[in-house]
Subunit: 235 residues, 2 copies
DNA sequence: CTTTTACAATAGCTTTAATTACCGTTTTAT
DNA sequence: ATAAAACGGTAATTAAAGCTATTGTAAAAG
């Protein structure tokens, strides 16, 4: 389906010429959403595919995951999978959406419960640590977590989804801080929220990928840095 | 060459069975270093391959980079490439080694020049910002930078190299801080250095991947957080 | 100057991933 | 109950990636 003109022998001789396709590639065109499952059996198939893919990610990683592999493991035929997912990026996208939804919900709940309405520095740090450890737990339980997170960074379409969700969360955080009396401008607070949440996610990824590290120590250190940052922003 | 028993029809029916190979894969076995170039022409070939791969990374990304593609673009034949690199991960490893060496050198130079010997909070922040922007510049000029950085996270063997280099740098930072009178334990300082440098690298990756962000603002914010962290460690 | 070693191209083979044409079965709607 | 849609399996095709046996040429060593 994809239009490519790569393998031609002409190109072998002349180096550094034509651009090597930039678009029209599955990786960029996950957009094409296929059919949604409508019957119970189909919903099972759909979930089976996602389950299997998640588990396979932990086994073989992102690069070696393929639609064929998922089919084999799930005991499905290729067309059964292709009915719902046009390629492996579509599967990753669904997994990514679900993981992000869980993470975002944890943050929104935390805000809702007054996560940002704390008096002392210590209270704020403790509250932030609680949030981070909650998000860490959610993520740790998600099959294929570190690979899904990598996909969210590495695959353009997933990046966009992630940026949108991250922007949304940052705005909520900024607004909640304003509601709690923070004096910085909304724009500044949003930028800071984007930065600090990304730093927190990076720290989480460190812990996930290197379980030998002291997760609690890292959470605490990062929380302190974040809380200090907002304190400094005040004046 | 790799031993796999995947495509067999037997496995199609029974899902969730045998592990799907865990080792003996090119991705895990970049170790096998091939021949080093010995003649001038060969050195040129070697560099051409790395150049081409770096440039191609920026065009097609990590997943679509292949030995074949590099050959075509470089005007080389597969055996010419295979003489020096057994697979694409070996190329990435060489690129990763070089980028890390540049980054590490910048940090070591900065330490050498007294980057950690500053009196006031503002001095320390300014010094840290200078370092970060220097590393950012070095990285930005490196072809394929963001993909090489991703490879350093995603490919097991490259991870190891990266961790080793990062540990070494963290120790130097910790020792320099001790020499400058920091009172925390060496272990604690090393752990902090690992955390803060990784956070700084994460921030750099954000800026690289999203040029719309205010790089200087982010650098400054992160530097303040880092410097504050070490100040809090003191007492 | 000749022998050995390093180097690189031709050509081709093997594996695997991606994808679809086709057909039978189940479910839903009329 | 029967037509239409949803489902999912068989089997095969296509294209690309990974890799190498063989062979000729340039360079270095003797």
């Amino acid at each position: 389906m994809s239009i490519r003109s790569l393998g031609n022998a002409e190109e072998m001789s002349s180096a550094k010429k034509a651009p090597v396709r930039k678009a029209a590639d599955p990786m960029d065109v996950v957009t094409a959403t296929k059919q949604q499952p409508q019957q119970a059996r189909a919903q099972d198939t759909f979930e089976l595919i996602l389950d299997t893919a998640g588990r396979l990610l932990d086994e073989v990683g992102l690069e070696r995951l393929s639609t064929n592999l998922v089919c084999r493991r799930a005991g499905l035929s290729p067309p059964a999978l292709y009915r719902y997912f046009p390629n492996k990026y579509a599967i990753l996208r669904e997994l990514g959406d679900r993981l992000m939804a869980l993470q975002d919900q944890a943050v929104l709940d935390w805000i809702e419960e007054g996560g940002l309405a704390n008096k002392t520095f210590e209270d704020e740090v403790a509250s932030n640590v609680r949030l981070q450890e909650r998000v860490n737990d959610i993520t740790r339980q998600f099959p294929g977590n570190i690979y899904v997170l990598r996909a969210l960074r590495a695959i353009p379409i997933l990046r966009e989804v992630r940026m949108a969700s991250s922007e949304m969360v940052a705005e909520k955080i900024a607004d909640s801080m304003i509601a709690n009396g923070h004096k910085a401008s909304r724009e500044r607070l949003i930028a800071s929220a984007r930065l600090t949440t990304e730093l927190a996610y990076s720290a989480m990824e460190m812990v996930l990928e290197e379980p030998s590290r002291d997760a609690h120590q890292i959470c605490t250190d990062v929380s302190k840095m974040i809380v200090t940052h907002y304190a400094q922003l005040k004046g």
